[in-house]
Symmetry: C2
Subunit: 467 residues, 2 copies
C-alpha cells in the first residue's frame, strides 16, 4: 500500500486540498502535526504552502512555521520563497539562524536576496563573511539586472587539462557538494584562468581512469559574456538544449556558470514581459498580478491608455471633417464600428504572429519582403471572403441599397489588406530602429488601423455615393 501511495503521479494529486488541510491544522494550533505533514513535501512545495499561509494567516505565522522546519530543509525552502517573504523572515529570526541560512544558501540565491534587502540587514548578513567573499559578492551585485552576470553562480567544477579521469572524479567528489552542477565541468588554463574546454560528467564516467581530461574535453566551448542579455542566454539554452553555460569576462576568464533551472524562470519572465507589452501594460517588471497594489496597477496601465486615447483625437478629426457627409447619410455610421473592429482584429492577428516569430528567432529582419508579400496576399483573400459575406448581409438582412453595401465592402477589402500589411510591418520596422517589437501589438495596431479604416471608409463613401 505504501508503495502505491509513493507512486501517485504528480498530475493526479490534489495539492490545493492538501494545503487547505494544513492551514486548518495551523488554525487549530496542532503544530506537531503541521510539522510532520510539512516535512513530507519537498522544498518547492513547502515554499508554496508558506505563501498560502501568508495569504491566509499573515507573515508572523509564516515565520513561526518556518522556524519549526528542520534546519537544512529550511534553507532550501528559504531559497524558493518570494523576496518579500525572505526579507521578513530575515527580519524576524535570530542572528544565529541568519548565519546558518547564509552559510548554506547557494551563492546565486544569496545575491538575489542581498539585492532586495535594506542596508541594515545587508550588514547583518555580511557580518560573518570574509573579506574575499565580500569582494566577490560586491562584484556580483554590480552586474546589471537581466544580464548573464546576474544569473550566474561562481560555484562550478573546474578541472585542469593535465588531470586524469580518476583525479577529476576525486576532485568532483570533494568539490561537488557546494557546486550548482557537477554534470558539466570546465577546463581552465592554469595561468590565466581562461576557459579552454568543457567535459561532461558523462564523458568522464564512460572513459577509463587513466584517460586525460585533455583528450576528452571539447575545445569548441559555448560561452557568453557577463553582459549578455538574459533573453539571449535563454535562446542559446533552447537552441542547443544545454544543461549549463559558462560565462566569461572581457579577458576570456571563466567567472561563473548559468544552469538550466534558472533559465526556466527567465523564459517565463521574458514571455510575461512580452504579453504585458503587447497589452500596453508598462513597467510592471517581474511583479506578480496579485501581489501588485491597485496604485501600481494604475501606474502600469495609464500611460498607454492615455497615449492611445490622444491618438483618437486624429480619428475624431477625420470624423469632424466628414461630418456633413455623415449627417446626410447617417446609416454610414452604423458600419463604422464593424470596419474599425475588423481592421483592428486583422492587424492584431498579423502583428502578433510576427512579434512571436521574431521572439522565437524564426522570423528575421531579412525576411521583411517575404512577410509583406505573404500578408498582402493573405489580406486580399481574407478581405474578399469577408466582403462577399458582408455584402450579402447588408443587402439581404439590413436591406440597405446596393451602393451602401458596395461602399462598405469596398472599404473593408482595402482596410483588411492594409491592416494586415501594416500589422506585420510595424513590429519589423520597430525592430529595425531598435524599438521593442512587442510594443507594436494589439492596442497600438488597432488604434492606428482605426484611423486608417475611417479615412478609407469616408473617402470611399464620398467617391461612391458622391457626397
Amino acid at each position: 500500500m505504501s508503495e502505491e501511495k509513493e507512486l501517485e503521479t504528480l498530475d493526479t494529486r490534489d495539492f490545493d486540498a492538501e494545503v487547505e488541510e494544513i492551514i486548518e491544522m495551523i488554525e487549530e494550533k496542532k503544530y506537531g502535526r503541521v510539522r510532520s505533514a510539512m516535512i513530507e513535501y519537498n522544498a518547492v512545495d513547502i515554499a508554496e504552502i508558506l505563501e498560502e499561509v501568508n495569504d491566509h494567516l499573515g507573515l508572523d505565522m509564516v515565520i513561526l512555521i518556518f522556524r519549526m522546519l528542520p534546519k537544512d530543509l529550511s534553507v532550501d525552502v528559504f531559497a524558493y520563497l518570494p523576496e518579500e517573504e525572505q526579507v521578513e523572515i530575515i527580519n524576524g529570526i535570530t542572528q544565529k539562524e541568519i548565519d546558518h541560512i547564509i552559510e548554506e544558501l547557494a551563492f546565486d540565491d544569496m545575491i538575489d536576496l542581498l539585492e532586495e534587502l535594506p542596508a541594515n540587514l545587508v550588514d547583518k548578513i555580511l557580518m560573518k563573511t570574509t573579506r574575499e567573499e565580500r569582494r566577490l559578492i560586491n562584484t556580483f551585485l554590480n552586474y546589471p539586472e537581466n544580464s548573464a552576470g546576474s544569473l550566474m553562480t561562481p560555484d562550478y567544477i573546474d578541472l585542469k587539462k593535465t588531470m586524469t579521469v580518476a583525479e577529476s572524479l576525486k576532485h568532483i567528489k570533494e568539490a561537488g557538494v557546494d557546486s550548482e552542477t557537477i554534470y558539466s565541468c570546465y577546463v581552465i588554463d592554469v595561468v590565466g584562468r581562461s576557459l579552454i574546454g568543457v567535459v561532461s560528467l558523462k564523458a568522464l564516467i564512460m572513459a577509463e581512469p587513466d584517460d586525460l581530461v585533455e583528450d576528452l574535453m571539447h575545445t569548441e566551448v559555448m560561452s557568453v559574456s557577463v553582459l549578455t542579455d538574459q533573453e539571449e542566454v535563454s535562446n542559446i539554452f533552447k537552441r542547443y538544449g544545454l544543461l549549463a553555460l559558462p560565462v566569461v569576462d572581457r579577458e576570456g576568464r571563466l567567472v561563473g556558470i548559468i544552469t538550466v533551472d534558472d533559465i526556466f524562470e527567465v523564459i517565463d519572465e521574458e514571455a510575461t514581459e512580452d504579453f504585458q507589452k503587447m497589452a500596453g501594460v508598462t513597467g510592471a517588471g517581474d511583479d506578480e498580478y496579485l501581489d501588485m497594489g491597485v496604485l501600481k496597477h494604475v501606474r502600469t496601465r495609464l500611460p498607454w491608455l492615455f497615449i492611445l486615447m490622444c491618438s483618437y483625437m486624429i480619428t475624431g478629426g477625420i470624423i469632424t471633417s466628414f461630418e456633413n457627409m455623415l449627417s446626410s447619410c447617417i446609416s454610414l455610421v452604423t458600419y463604422m464600428p464593424m470596419l474599425m473592429g475588423t481592421g483592428g482584429n486583422s492587424g492584431s492577428q498579423s502583428s502578433t504572429l510576427i512579434i512571436r516569430g521574431m521572439a522565437t528567432d524564426e522570423i528575421d529582419l531579412k525576411d521583411i519582403a517575404r512577410v509583406l508579400w505573404k500578408e498582402i496576399r493573405i489580406g486580399v483573400l481574407v478581405g474578399i471572403c469577408l466582403s462577399i459575406l458582408n455584402f450579402l448581409r447588408i443587402i439581404y438582412i439590413d436591406g440597405e441599397p446596393p451602393m451602401v453595401a458596395l461602399t462598405v465592402c469596398g472599404a473593408m477589402m482595402i482596410i483588411v489588406m492594409l491592416a494586415k500589411s501594416a500589422g506585420a510591418m510595424l513590429p519589423m520596422i520597430a525592430k529595425a530602429v531598435h524599438i521593442d517589437p512587442a510594443l507594436m501589438a494589439g492596442p497600438v495596431v488597432s488604434s492606428l488601423t482605426d484611423m486608417m479604416s475611417l479615412g478609407i471608409y469616408f473617402l470611399f463613401a464620398s467617391m461612391v455615393l458622391g457626397i
Copy 2:
C-alpha cells in the same frame, strides 16, 4: 591566437554572415571547402545551415551536402532537421544509409520521424528492426499527440535497489552510451518493473563504492502518467527545476523518461499557441509562420474575423436604434472611436494579465473575487484620470459645450471600469466552464466592449442631453 578564436562568445559571433559564406561556396561548387567549413559547427548549427541551403538552393543540394558529412555527425544533424526535410532525405538516400541513420537515431527522434513518414517509407525503415523493437515502436506511435507518452524515450538507466554504488557506476558505464541521460537513474522493483526510487548520478559520485542504492535513493519520486498533457509536464519541470521526469503506465510501471531538452520545445510551443489564440488565429498548430502557405494562413485567420464581424451586427443595431439622436447631434459621432478604442484597450490589458497569470499558475479560479475587486478599483481610478484629461481636452481644444464633455467623460468613466472588470472576468469564467481562457483576449474582448461602450455612451447621451 587559436585559443582566442575558440573563446569567441556565442553572443558576438555573426552566424548569419558565416552561413551566407557557406552558401556562396556551395554555389561556386567548392565542395571540399564546404565540407571542412561545415564540420567545424555542431549538429544544431549544421541543421540550420542546411535549412538555409534548402531555402536558397533547394532540397537536392541539401541531400548532396548531407551525404558529404561524416557518418556519425550526419545522424546528429538529421535529428535536428525539420520533419519535411527528414522525409526528403530518407527518400533521397540509399537503404544502407537509411539503416545507419535508424540504427544510431535516438528512440524518441525515430518516433517523431515515423509519425511523419508515408507508409512505404515506414516499411523501408522498419525492415531491419526486430519483432520486439517493432512492438515497442508501435506502442509509442499510439500515444496521443502532446501527451507525456509522445515526449518520452525508453532509453533510460534503471538500477536495482540492492546494487552497490560501484555496481551501479559499472552498469551506467555499460548502458550509458545509448541513454538519453545518465544523470538521473531510476530504481525499479525487480518483479513488477514498478518505479520505487530515483537516484542522481551526483549522489552516486559523492557516495562510497560500497554504499547501497537503496540507502541513497529518494522514494518520493515525481512522475507523470503516459497520458498527462505536455503543458502540465512542462509546468512540473519549471516548478521543480528538473532535468528529467519518469513516466509510468496505469499500473505504475516505468515506461520511459522525459528529458529537459525536449521541454524547451514544449514551452515555446505552448506559449506560441497562447499568442495565436489570443490574436484570434486558430488551427495553425506547430507550423512556423514562414513555412505556412497563404491559403493555410487564410484558413487560420478567417474564422474569428468572421465571427467577430458578425458580432458587430449587434453593435450596428445599437447605432441604428439611436440614429435620430445621432442625426440631431452629429458631434457625438466624433467621440465614438475614442470611447470604443479606450474601452477595448482597457479590457485587453486586464484580460491579457489574467490569461498570463492563469497560464503561469499564479492566478487561480478561487481568486476570482479578489481579481474582480482589484479591477473595479483600478478601473475607477484609471477611468477618473482619463476622464478628467479628456474633459479638459474636449472643452479647451475641441471647444464643445460642457454638456457634451460631461456626456463623453461620464460614459468613459463607466466604460473603463466595466471593460476592466469584464476583461478580467471573461478568461476566468471561460476557465470555469472549461473553455481555453486564451480565447478571451484582445479581439473577443474589444468586440464585446465595443458593443458595451456604444450602449453606455448613447444611453448616457440621451439622459444628459435629453435627446
